[in-house]
Point group: C3
Chain length 262, copies 3
């Protein structure tokens, strides 16, 4: 775990080009900005090459798209691959919506991500495992989650982050589990989207995607946990305000002090 990557990120201020989810785009931009990265967004394929050229990393969020946007998303992914820019894919809802799974599967045929980040249902769907039938509620064994994440990583040949109360980060062989976090992440729509783009920001300053991914997860989870523990009975409105503040101010030492991973 290379927590000093956070200092590097803040020093280098990498540009992250996001194909964003229109529901959460403003929070994602503000989250990246608060942490110390620089967000750019575009939906126009004519400027995709330039945007990828400016970027230190690219994040494709599949949270809300139309058919024309799928073409642009695919083009951006291919351009990122060609330019050897780190690529993160967030396959929103591929576990619940067959159409989403079909689009993501097609995309993964022509685009190779460095990192895929999703929840258990999404990662299981891309692993080809039947998880949805069991639901994604707590109570499922952590062992299963590791297997799912590893299977997905092996199948998709990339680093996989399976987010949840415990984040599982794996390259198919090596696995790290981050135990930090807070249930408040679930109360605010877009926490997952924000994490995916933050993973991109860490990939922009660290070539090893497995290192970048696990550090991003620890930083985000620990900062969220720290915010949640600062007040009793915090609501989702207050949480996002304080989360943005904390993304800006939390130090490596403060994260180190509460880091809980294995």
């Amino acid at each position: 775990m290379k927590l000093t990557l956070l200092d590097q990120l803040r020093e280098q201020n990498p540009i992250v080009f996001n194909i964003s989810n229109f529901v959460t785009v403003q929070d994602v931009a503000n989250g990246l900005n608060a942490l110390g990265a620089s967000p750019i967004m575009s939906e126009e394929v004519a400027e995709a090459g330039e945007m990828v050229g400016l970027a230190g990393a690219v994040c494709l969020n599949l949270g809300a798209f139309t058919v024309p946007q799928v073409k642009q998303i695919t083009a951006v992914g291919q351009l990122a691959n060609q330019a050897h820019k780190p690529l993160v894919i967030d396959p929103v809802a591929v576990g619940a919506v067959a159409y989403r799974k079909q689009v993501a599967t097609e995309l993964l045929r022509t685009v190779h991500p460095d990192v895929i980040r999703g929840n258990a249902g999404e990662i299981a769907a891309l692993a080809g495992l039947d998880w949805q039938a069991k639901g994604i509620d707590a109570g499922e064994g952590a062992g299963d989650l590791v297997t799912i994440a590893q299977t997905c990583a092996q199948k998709q040949r990339c680093v996989v982050i399976l987010s949840g109360p415990t984040d599982v980060i794996t390259d198919g062989t090596r696995t790290v589990q981050v135990e930090n976090g807070t249930p408040l992440f679930q109360t605010h729509v877009g926490s997952g989207d924000m994490l995916s783009s933050i993973v991109g920001a860490f990939c922009a300053v660290e070539d090893d995607a497995f290192e970048a991914a696990q550090t991003a997860c620890l930083v985000f989870a620990a900062i969220g946990q720290s915010v949640a523990s600062s007040q009793d009975r915090m609501g989702s409105g207050t949480f996002i305000v304080k989360l943005l503040d904390a993304l800006q101010f939390t130090t490596v030492a403060e994260i180190q002090a509460i880091a809980n991973y294995h």
Copy 2:
């Protein structure tokens, strides 16, 4: 008034599929989430059938759309009708913009909503009444508002919510007026959009749309009033933060204690 529907909503966590207004989509998603429902959004017609299938209710916000989106909105509305999913329509600006009125009128020819929610100008436009000419400022008699809402409900054969300092809820025969609320709702763009989607969430847990609509109005208005009264001279930035918190934490008993309707 069945305030216990709020507890049911929080227990059942119904999915509300929103055709959203891009200006306010994130607040709407967060508001639904904070209250205890689960928001999904999509602009792609190819997944409309699946989205409607997942949903406990559908809300069509006509606040900002392009011609291609009108096709998707219409398809979603028809699918909701076919699947007998409760359907809420928010006809934003149909009182002020002739093009919006034309699109909404066309939509209402092929799609039947369970609830329409709008302000006085919007509801009057859909009732075929000449309200715009008189303006929508305060000082108009409440009696007029009831007549407008009832006329619209009878013409459109659905429950109508006419929102304002007093919310008028009617099925064309029975009428309830909710007197709770706060002027702060007007200071935050998207309060009305949030209410429309919350009406959808209540419709997902209560078959009687008239009951669901009036309860949604009372819950939202009372929570807003409670937030506003918690601090002198509250601004719109603080209001939305505290509103999201309060949507999450306010209990049925707390709402009951300040409920003001007849």
Copy 3:
């Protein structure tokens, strides 16, 4: 500097029609609303004429657009010119992305803005000056910024606002510099977009675009500075909440007390 324009704006509640940037649209709408203006947004060309007709001013934000949207943006700009409605253009990223510069240049061939607002790199690009090569970091002389803004204003024959730690406002001959502000504006994505639309709101209540532009800059910068100084080590999450509150409540006298311009 006509600070009393703020009182006029709050009294007249002008409608500002925004072609918005999807990343920041909600904050822009809330910012306009909080200050006392009334935002409307639309992406549909079929209602462009009506929207322009309703509006007291029009603001075209070029922050995120697709090719079809460029057609709508152009149509809206031309309609604003024909109807003699004040027109503000925010040429986001024209300094960094050649495609954006090309679209903006094309737009400026058929649409005449009353005000252009951008940062140093954007204004230099529209002035035809080679600024990007030098970067846009602090340390550049303020004298250069004035020259860049004036050159752009002369070339584009309109008022130009070059935003930064010092805002330069010029009609090509007369120049005002506003020294108020806070680095917190940079921590929140969309501060510039919000300012551009607020410039539109001031143009709606003051025929002299140079007066309107400088007053808008002073009001926005002074309110931001006042918010930032109200708390040590404020983060970007807290800043936007308090900024919205302060846009609503700050008086002309409070701004006058800290106004710093020449």
